[in-house]
């Protein structure tokens, strides 16, 4: 019977195509919305992930307890082996070491003496290897205002506003005065390669970005780093996977008695964003529920009207002696088929669009006044396992229910009336 019905659906497009299109469109919207909301949730914590904690973050136990004070005397040492083992063991993440620091940026006059000085806060990241994930994570390229990107050791990026305050141009020299991890005064000469716009007040007024190797040298931290951050390769925060990785790492590496043993935390635990994530999660849950309910009504209605438009056909089938129950059942199976086909097609299209937006993002740069590092110009969707499922709820259930309710009318049809109806 299913074959027979399928043939019917294929051959009589008026019966199947329009309901199919409506279901597919509805499901596509639902799927897209889910992926979009997931992406929005991720983007809200994106700058925290990119600038502070990564999706997961390895620090020494002691450093992690005072992380907000940036205690570089408690930093990780011998990170090369650690980074290598992380890269080998957890291959679906990028691993990259970072050093956060504070200090003074001193601009010399022509005699090499202090002309301008300003307190700065900075991060040392891997800027010089072309495959460094930092370019993407820190969104550096689009945020460049003047000058160029660092291409060799000793080059530095500074916030545009800071550069203006210090009256420096790209190409000029600057000396960073900070402390080594042992507390000694540290000096390091940089050339200002370019200026960037962060988009967040405090950073625009005081932030600098240096190469990790330069900072290791400046701060006497050979093979050292404050933290090693890990980013999922799709740049989306997958909480369960992050938790599993952190658990696995800590079981293998964390020694409670050793304050310098490495410990891994997730974005959720390290950033203190746990409550915020819950809150935004429940917010998007509500949006999604409202939407799915509304879409279900639309598709239910579509199922309902889909059956009603076949009023004449049903009359005829009843008139030539088809059993009422059989007509009803065949209508149900047909609606189920349309529901499944529409949901599958809708999910496929929705996921495809969402995936495109996950990879390429939706560039709102043209709508923003200026490109900045902290506020990304690109909004992304995020396809999650649930994205593949969510469309089936309104797609199949609502269509089926709509057909089921409208089909009840079949039982109310009077045989005596049928021929009369057919005559008209």
């Amino acid at each position: 019977m299913i074959n027979f019905l399928l043939k019917g659906l294929f051959r009589d497009r008026s019966r199947s195509l329009f309901p199919f299109l409506i279901v597919a469109a509805g499901v596509m919207l639902t799927v897209f919305l889910h992926a979009w909301l997931s992406g929005a949730l991720s983007s809200m914590i994106q700058s925290t992930a990119h600038y502070r904690t990564g999706h997961v973050c390895v620090m020494t136990k002691a450093y992690s307890e005072k992380a907000d004070q940036v205690p570089n005397d408690l930093a990780l040492l011998a990170i090369d082996t650690l980074v290598m083992s992380l890269r080998q063991r957890y291959t679906d993440l990028f691993w990259t070491p970072r050093i956060s620091f504070g200090g003074l940026l001193d601009i010399p006059d022509e005699k090499g003496e202090t002309k301008e000085q300003s307190p700065v806060s900075g991060i040392g990241v891997n800027l010089l290897s072309a495959d460094s994930p930092e370019w993407k994570m820190l969104n550096i390229r689009p945020a460049l205002v003047r000058g160029q990107l660092p291409s060799q050791h000793g080059e530095l990026l500074i916030a545009e506003e800071l550069a203006r305050k210090l009256h420096v141009q790209p190409g000029q020299k600057a000396t960073l005065i900070t402390s080594t991890m042992y507390g000694s005064m540290a000096y390091f000469n940089f050339t200002i390669a370019g200026t960037v716009r962060f988009g967040v007040g405090p950073m625009d007024r005081s932030a600098i970005i240096a190469d990790l190797a330069d900072m290791q040298q400046a701060m006497d931290m050979q093979q050292g780093a404050g933290e090693i951050v890990g980013f999922f390769k799709d740049d989306l925060y997958h909480e369960e996977r992050a938790n599993a990785i952190a658990r696995d790492f800590n079981v293998a590496n964390l020694k409670p008695s050793d304050k310098f043993s490495p410990i891994m935390g997730t974005l959720r635990t390290v950033s203190g964003l746990a409550d915020y994530l819950d809150y935004v999660g429940s917010f998007s849950g509500i949006i999604l529920t409202i939407f799915v309910v509304a879409m279900s009504i639309v598709l239910w209605n579509a199922g309902l009207t889909g059956s009603l438009r076949r009023y004449g056909e049903i009359g005829l089938r009843l008139a030539i002696g088809e059993e009422t129950g059989h007509v009803y059942r065949s209508m149900m199976v047909e609606s189920l088929m349309i529901g499944i086909a529409g949901s599958m097609a809708g999910t496929a299209i929705g996921v495809a669009i969402a995936y495109y937006l996950q990879v390429h993002g939706f560039d709102i740069g043209s709508m923003m006044k200026n490109s900045t590092m902290m506020i990304s110009d690109v909004i992304r969707a995020q396809v999650e396992p649930f994205t593949f499922v969510i469309g089936f709820l309104p797609g199949i259930l609502a269509t089926f229910l709509g057909a089921a309710i409208s089909g009840i009318g079949i039982y109310k049809r009077q045989t005596s009336q049928l021929f009369k109806e057919l005559e008209t």
Binding site: D278, V298, N301, M368, I379
Partner: protein, 390 residues
């Protein structure tokens, strides 16, 4: 007018189908308004909380004060000019003195900002009245984030070291009078609040302040020598930039909901035109022009939108009104993250939002209703009467 009557009768006659469509459409209305309301409410609350806690109605900064340059803090204090002094006396402004200081949580040196605020002030929402006498010790307030990062609790004692106006070290033990559950980072992170008069006298800066915060809607005195006025617009510019960027992302949501409305109407319209060919033929036979029929069907679609608006108003106003009154409870301590919202989120529905959304949805439903009806223009009455589309 008869077309309107006819359209209205037709859609009411369709019974359940019409009402299902109307309910689905009304969901779009309510959802768009609710979500935009929540979004606006959230931004308003962030802004309001920041204004209440720190920005007030704008601030006068001592001329050398730069909040982003700690080097300026040493010198950023001065006695209040008479006009500001008058505002303070009349409760229209609150002076704050900010000094760089150090604390030693767990024996490690950490720099902080020591801020003095008058316990009796009512300009800012900081619960400064909690800064009561600490039984010989200076009472101090800190925010939740500061408490977390330093491991301090209410009643704990903390040694703070700073220098007075002459450069002399002072170190006092303060007692944490309370932890302020705030989400406004500007009053929390790396800061300790103590009574203004004590900080002034301990710092040998009697009557001095680093900034004076005006009460909301207080007219700032004209140019003051040695002080710069920072308006609310200036203070809020960073916050506004973030909100702007988020708004573009939020509009996608708006668009998806509009699509939902379009889908509901489109489906109904296509079906109506398909099913009601005989009716169209009859109407044409009775002398109605094609465009009148297009008008009729478009109007029917549009009426769905109007009915939906009425239905949405019927349940939406009490529902959204209720949420706006009671607020939306946030889980746990959502504000520990420094996102400046309180424990409850109150959506804000502006008249512009409601009218704008209604007009937009009506417009969209009318356009979507019209699109499938264009087929009618090619309809031959003879075919139509036999139920065929030419």
């Amino acid at each position: 007018m008869y077309i309107f009557k006819l359209a209205f009768r037709n859609i009411l006659g369709a019974g359940l189908r019409t009402w299902l469509n109307v309910v689905a459409l009304s969901f779009s209305f309510v959802a768009i308004i609710f979500l935009q309301g929540i979004y606006t409410g959230m931004n308003d609350q962030v802004e309001q909380a920041t204004i209440d806690a720190f920005y007030g109605g704008g601030q006068f900064w001592e001329k050398s004060y730069d909040p982003y340059d700690p080097l300026t803090l040493d010198d950023a204090h001065a006695p209040l000019p008479a006009s500001l002094e008058d505002l303070v006396k009349s409760g229209q402004a609150a002076p704050l003195l900010i000094r760089p200081a150090a604390i030693y949580p767990e024996g490690r040196f950490r720099t902080i900002l020591l801020k003095g605020i008058a316990p009796q002030q009512n300009v800012l929402s900081i619960p400064s009245s909690l800064l009561k006498d600490g039984e010989g010790l200076i009472p101090a307030l800190i925010g939740t984030r500061m408490a977390k990062s330093t491991g301090l609790h209410k009643g704990d004692e903390l040694t703070i070291q700073w220098r007075d106006a002459h450069g002399t070290f002072d170190a006092r033990t303060v007692v944490i009078a309370d932890i302020v559950r705030t989400s406004v980072q500007e009053i929390d992170n790396g800061q300790v609040w103590i009574p203004l008069d004590q900080l002034q006298s301990l710092s040998a800066m009697p009557g001095h302040a680093t900034m004076v915060v005006l009460k909301r809607n207080t007219q700032p005195p004209a140019m003051l020598q040695g002080w710069e006025f920072r308006s609310l617009d200036y203070l809020l510019q960073d916050l506004h930039a973030v909100v702007r960027s988020k708004r573009i992302g939020g509009s996608i949501l708006y668009l998806v909901l509009l699509f939902l409305a379009m889908l509901a109407i489109f489906d109904t319209q296509v079906l109506s035109i398909f099913r009601r060919k005989k009716e169209m033929g009859t109407l044409m036979a009775l002398g109605m022009t094609r465009w009148s029929i297009i008008e009729l069907f478009t109007l029917e679609g549009g009426l769905h939108g109007i009915l939906a608006a009425c239905v949405a108003a019927l349940y939406g106003i009490p529902l959204l009104g209720y949420i706006a009154r009671t607020g939306w409870e946030l889980p746990g301590a959502a504000d520990t993250v420094g996102f400046a919202i309180g424990e409850k989120l109150f959506p804000t529905y502006s008249a512009g939002l409601i009218v704008g959304t209604t007009v937009l949805v009506l417009l969209v439903t009318t356009i979507v209703s019209f699109l499938p009806t264009r087929k009618i223009a090619q309809l031959k009455p003879t075919d139509a009467l036999r139920g065929k589309m030419s």
